[in-house]
């Protein structure tokens, strides 16, 4: 879970670089292709859930703890549910919550990082100190405590809470980048052009740190998926929803491993790790894109 991007330390000067469509350049990197492939695969599974499986993920129609066979490609759970159905519908929840949490964290990170750097002065001092405090307050324990207070809750709230506890790193990275961009000539020119502050922040500065934002978004999504799975696994989320986290919760409750039902326990955990890997690989490529030295090396 300790994934730290080094983009923070690399100052990027996009103006000196040829701009051959960043998206095309992104896909030139084999790592990016693999990463995107993994991600797209799971998104596709989630979208096509009803096509992939005819079964309702909740219905307990089948013989419990069946090993994978032609009828149940991933076997059945201890409660006689089809694991594949749970898995593909669970992908929907897990990806949605993860991505929503990532978006929330990124949105807060952008505001809490860029505004103070742009405004400067006492406002910057107060906000960036606050950011640094949130950064060092351990996230998961805080999440568990909040989870304990709101106990039962929907996936949406979980996503928001995860987002609201996980924005600080991005805010810090974006703040330092904004500080370096805010004195650029083109920003000064925009100010001379009479552009209002929000235009300068969101239209002039933000597009020039998109790679940072995208990298941050990917890590936030990864964090979101892991955090959601952890909460659900501990039974602090909505245990009656179908997600990879609740699958692991029920698999643990149903002693899946002791029963030898690896097909129940392994797919959700493995998929979380794979999705995370996909995000990291894509992020590698974004990193490389904005840092030519890393490009040479890979």
């Amino acid at each position: 879970m300790t994934v730290i991007t080094s983009v923070a330390s690399t100052s990027v000067d996009p103006s000196r670089r040829g701009r051959t469509s960043p998206i095309r350049q992104f896909f030139k990197d084999p790592k990016a292709r693999v990463g995107f492939g993994i991600f797209a695969f799971f998104v596709l599974i989630a979208l096509l859930a009803p096509v992939i499986t005819p079964y309702n993920p909740q219905s307990t129609l089948f013989i419990p703890l069946q090993a994978p066979d032609a009828r149940h490609w991933l076997g059945t759970t201890g409660n006689g549910q089809d694991v594949l159905a749970q898995f593909v519908y669970g992908a929907r929840t897990s990806l949605t919550v993860g991505i929503l949490a990532g978006l929330t964290a990124t949105a807060i990170g952008i505001v809490m990082g860029m505004l103070p750097a742009y405004r400067g002065g006492t406002f910057d001092l107060v906000v960036s100190t606050f950011t640094n405090i949130i950064l060092v307050v351990p996230g998961l324990p805080l999440l568990l405590v909040i989870g304990a207070y709101i106990h039962q809750t929907g996936s949406l709230v979980i996503a928001l809470v995860i987002g609201m506890t996980g924005w600080a790193w991005q805010a810090r990275v974006l703040r330092s980048q904004t500080l370096s961009l805010v004195s650029r000539d083109y920003v000064v020119a925009a100010r001379l052009a009479g552009a209002p502050d929000q235009h300068i922040i969101f239209r002039e500065i933000l597009p020039n740190m998109l790679s940072l934002v995208v990298a941050g978004l990917m890590y936030s999504c990864l964090y979101g998926i892991l955090a959601e799975a952890s909460l659900e696994f501990l039974g602090l989320g909505n245990i009656n929803a179908t997600s990879w986290g609740t699958m692991l919760y029920w698999a643990t409750q149903g002693a899946a491993l002791l029963n030898g039902a690896w097909w129940w326990f392994v797919p959700p955990g493995l998929s979380i790790a794979l999705v995370g890997m996909g995000f990291s690989l894509m992020n590698f490529a974004v990193d490389t894109l904005s840092n030519p030295r890393l490009r040479e090396s890979s």
Binding site: R16, V188, R191, A193
Partner: protein, 320 residues
């Protein structure tokens, strides 16, 4: 010829920056007085580190002076903010040194030129598009249609600087501060840009502040020239006067260094790399490099004095 109309006047302008904490300051603009008249071009000449860029940025109020006044017609704009500052910016624009850095790499030519049209001139839709097109035409970027959707990295250096000039013109300013507008360009392109600026000056009755390290191009472009050293204005005169009769040892040095100059001055001993800008310095800042230095120069404060015919200088030798 009637009395020239005064547009902008700096009085005892001081700009300073803190360095390394502990209350230490540098003073890149130190007590400068300067007047700019309508449709006049003033050259500011100095080596790098002389504070000329800081002065330029202060004149357009990107920077806020620590002391002194900045009169825009009858208003003091030294410390205005918000809407008043925005209003001032509509009248005082800047062309930056580096056309690579001054254009946002993420926005199209149209976006960048349209921004001041929209914000300062409150135009939108077809009017805005027409205006942008005519601006691009005006700076010699035609046909404008081919260029408007391009990104800066798709343009040559000269084209970029023309876009930057178009952007500066877009607000309909009265003054343009051009900070070494050609120094980053290929020699072959420089003449074209200078030609463009000259044409604009004449067509639009614009005032120009032309910042350069090169006395020759200042002479070519400006009616009056100020010479800066270590944050101070050391000499100010008409372009013709300063070429004919440079008074300050530093001006002479610059003359000698500029190509095609008949002047030959002894090469100064350099005891110091770059001018000392710190607030604690004493005496004439040029003293360490001055071939004509006297003991007094290292101690006494040197005042800028007007001699005759709008010719001023800050040198103890000139008092003799």
């Amino acid at each position: 010829m009637s009395e020239p109309i005064e547009v902008l006047r700096a009085e005892n302008l001081v700009v300073r920056f803190p360095v390394g904490g502990r209350g230490r300051w540098i003073v890149p603009v130190d007590n400068i007085n300067l007047t700019i008249h309508q449709a006049e071009s003033v050259g500011i000449v100095g080596e790098s580190g002389s504070g000329k860029t800081t002065l330029g940025r202060t004149l357009v109020r990107i920077l806020e002076p620590a002391k002194g006044r900045l009169h825009w017609h009858t208003h003091d704009v030294a410390h205005i903010r918000g809407r008043a500052l925005r209003h001032y910016h509509a009248a005082v624009q800047m062309v930056f040194q580096d056309p690579f850095a001054s254009l946002n790499p993420a926005r199209t030519v149209f976006d960048q030129v349209a921004l001041p049209v929209r914000c300062h001139r409150r135009m939108s839709g077809a009017a805005q598009a027409d205006r942008v097109e005519s601006l691009l035409d005006q700076v010699g970027l035609s046909p404008a249609r081919d260029l408007r959707e391009k990104y800066p990295h798709e343009l040559s250096g000269g084209q970029r600087q023309r876009v930057a000039i178009a952007r500066a013109l877009a607000a309909d300013p009265q003054i343009i501060v051009a900070d070494e507008p050609v120094s980053m360009l290929d020699v072959s392109i420089r003449a074209g840009i200078l030609q463009l600026l000259t044409e604009l000056k004449e067509q639009l009755a614009l005032s120009f502040v032309f910042i350069t390290h090169d006395l020759a191009s200042a002479r070519y472009f400006s009616t009056r020239i100020g010479v800066m050293y270590a944050g101070q204005l050391v000499e100010m005169a008409t372009a013709a006067d300063i070429t004919r009769r440079p008074l300050h040892p530093y001006t002479r040095l610059l003359m000698a260094a500029s190509p095609g100059s008949g002047m030959k001055a002894p090469l100064p001993e350099t005891t110091q790399g770059s001018p000392d800008l710190s607030a604690q310095r004493r005496g004439c800042p040029f003293a360490p490099r001055c071939p004509l230095v006297m003991d007094r120069c290292r101690q006494a404060t040197v005042e800028f004095r007007w001699l005759a015919d709008q010719h001023g200088v800050a040198c103890l030798r000139s008092e003799e």
